[in-house]
Symmetry: C2
Subunit: 194 residues, 2 copies
């Protein structure tokens, strides 16, 4: 959590700092990102940064939180948590959501992709939280008879999750390609390749 001094700043300055963080964390993965770069982008002195945040994790988490809020606004009803959405649908919705967010704020999806790629302890922890949600969905699908009960959900999530984000990095701006690849991956997961 940023310190009080940060929240006492006027909106404009808070925004500037937030954007500077987005700029940096969407370019380099967390462990490579540089505070010096952030303050340069934001146009604030070094000392001020530490007046506002305790360290790199602090500003990262703040940024992530704000982004998360914004994404929920962008996606709105589209992701309205229908408790009956299957794993496959969830993944597909997620990919479409990624594209939608990406068309408005491409940096946000880049941040997501870099998170998956990074393998620092801090990032792994964040990933575990989100993986947990998918595990629940898969379990529910097993109950519903949509997914074979003997399937190892951990494996499925890893194969899919890593893929979806990695592919986004490679596909870049080519949206059609991206959706095609994700769809192909889902099809493979569903039916197998043999």
């Amino acid at each position: 959590m940023p310190k009080d001094t940060f929240f006492n700043l006027n909106e404009e300055k808070q925004k500037r700092i937030f954007e500077a963080a987005v700029q940096e964390f969407s370019t380099r993965r967390f462990s490579d990102a540089s505070i010096n770069q952030i303050i340069k982008n934001a146009g604030i002195p070094k000392g001020s940064f530490y007046q506002y945040f305790t360290d790199k994790q602090d500003i990262y988490l703040y940024m992530a939180e704000k982004i998360s809020e914004e994404i929920h606004k962008i996606l709105g009803d589209q992701e309205a948590a229908d408790p009956n959405t299957s794993f496959f649908e969830t993944i597909m919705q997620r990919a479409e959501g990624t594209l939608k967010v990406g068309s408005i704020r491409p940096e946000y999806t880049k941040i997501g992709a870099l998170t998956v790629i990074d393998n620092s302890e801090f990032m792994l922890q964040l990933l575990r939280v989100s993986n947990h949600k998918y595990a629940e969905i898969i379990e529910r699908d097993k109950q519903a008879g949509l997914i074979k009960p003997e399937i190892d959900s951990e494996v499925v999530i890893k194969m899919m999750y890593i893929f979806v984000f990695n592919e986004y990095l490679y596909s870049g701006l080519d949206k059609t390609r991206y959706l095609q690849k994700v769809e192909a991956a889902i099809q493979i997961l569903k039916q197998g390749i043999a």
Copy 2:
């Protein structure tokens, strides 16, 4: 390619430097690895390093080449290129090979895993080469009717390749778990989960 001065060194010193590189590159991914650390491990002065190698890539490629030779020796007949080995068998063999190599020289497999995780341009290039081999195998399997012809091989490789190495990092020393997970992944690929 290392310079002549390196190959003029006596075996013992060459070995020491090689081991120092292994030690470093098995601990940190390429972009994070430090030349300073390597020379410290090897017990050679900074100047000497640049007398032997042009830069970090130079020593990395040299090390990779030597490791590759050694692995071929370790695996020997086990990987005797039977041109009829299917994609699934290849992956499984590969996983078993990884374990075998890992039990003798765990550092080598760690280097492999870190390579996959790194996403620097240099590393991506190396990956492309190895991916190409898998693509060929899949195409052959399609011809043989083992794999559905409409499958996007690129997607399959990505899902599998990333998974196999990533899982190795997580499973750590637990060999049984590793083989189980890989087998589960193959099963999923084969039959699908729906």
